[in-house]
Symmetry: C2
Subunit: 195 residues, 2 copies
């Protein structure tokens, strides 16, 4: 799964993002101060502003990175049969939300803190990710390999189940992210009644 | 599904709880002030303190009520076959999280704001609700009516899928809470491979 922040150039910015995720997880976005976030990265608030002008900017970078990385994990699934593609997409989405549990949980909990323009960008990304699943499920139903009466409702339930892994998953628990991915891919195949 | 706050004696306390849910949903627990909550109920902060000594007290009442009501909805399912019991329990939990979407979403998002003693009480309630499902799935597997390799993992996925309805459900969307309940009961039966 790799490091969620590997694409962020400045090492100080990566420290700030990691610190902010930990503080938002512990205290909520409203409860964590910019001073604490800067301190968690060993910086002064003034040094932080070079990288992120506001706390809202930091949250938006976290939320945006989580959504882009989740979308990429699903989109990069190779071109194989519909069944194998959906299986691999569910594996990827569930394993992602286990591997990046804390950042994904903060993202889910703090969406209401985004202004409406930023929320619009994120909503489009979410719709695009769900759209990748929807198209494959529709293809599979048309090809007769899935048996699904309510295509949008069932697709939403599968995506929702994967995303919700971030709400309860703990790296201290009994399953690795890949084991979660494998279990959820199996359950999704059952939900789609693969013949 | 009825009114979540029907069991709260004082009408002013019910107004405060409804106002707090709306404000926590819009601004987060950290972002909503006690003054705003009191105003949303048409009261002064001093009048609010008669009912809830602190904002933390209000949040705990919301979180506690949601967990108790969800548990009761699942626990009150009648004594029938294992298959029908699990079907009805999934229906109840999914429909509950649609019907009480906003209060349940606030509950999920703000758990980190509870102190450790209160979180302990809530965690026990959550475990008890999941335990109701776990016992039935185990019974069904032993009776040969469910075909499940990973009983705790599959049970957790079913409960998680129902709880996550509160993250995305909108009463303005195409499905009623009962329609969500019926769809999720059907999907859970597939996940358990009912013979």
């Amino acid at each position: 799964m790799g490091d969620l922040w590997a694409g962020v150039e400045a090492e100080a910015a990566r420290r700030l993002l990691r610190g902010a995720v930990g503080l938002f997880a512990a205290k909520g976005y409203g409860g964590a101060s910019t001073r604490e976030i800067a301190e968690s990265a060993g910086m002064s608030p003034a040094a932080m502003y070079v990288h992120f002008a506001t706390k809202a900017e930091l949250l938006y970078r976290i939320v945006g990175t989580v959504h882009e990385a989740a979308h990429a994990a699903v989109a990069e699934v190779g071109n194989t049969t519909v069944v194998e593609r959906v299986r691999a997409m569910v594996f990827a989405l569930a394993a992602f939300h286990a591997a990046h549990q804390q950042a994904a949980r903060v993202t889910q909990n703090e969406l209401a803190a985004l202004d409406s323009e930023r929320w619009g960008v994120i909503r489009d990304l979410r719709d695009a990710t769900e759209g990748l699943f929807l198209r494959q499920v529709e293809l599979g139903v048309r090809a007769g390999v899935f048996d699904v009466a309510d295509v949008p409702g069932t697709t939403r339930a599968i995506v929702s189940m994967c995303v919700d892994v971030a709400r309860w998953y703990s790296p201290a628990g009994p399953r690795t992210p890949d084991e979660i991915g494998a279990l959820y891919a199996h359950l999704a195949m059952r939900m789609l009644a693969v013949h």
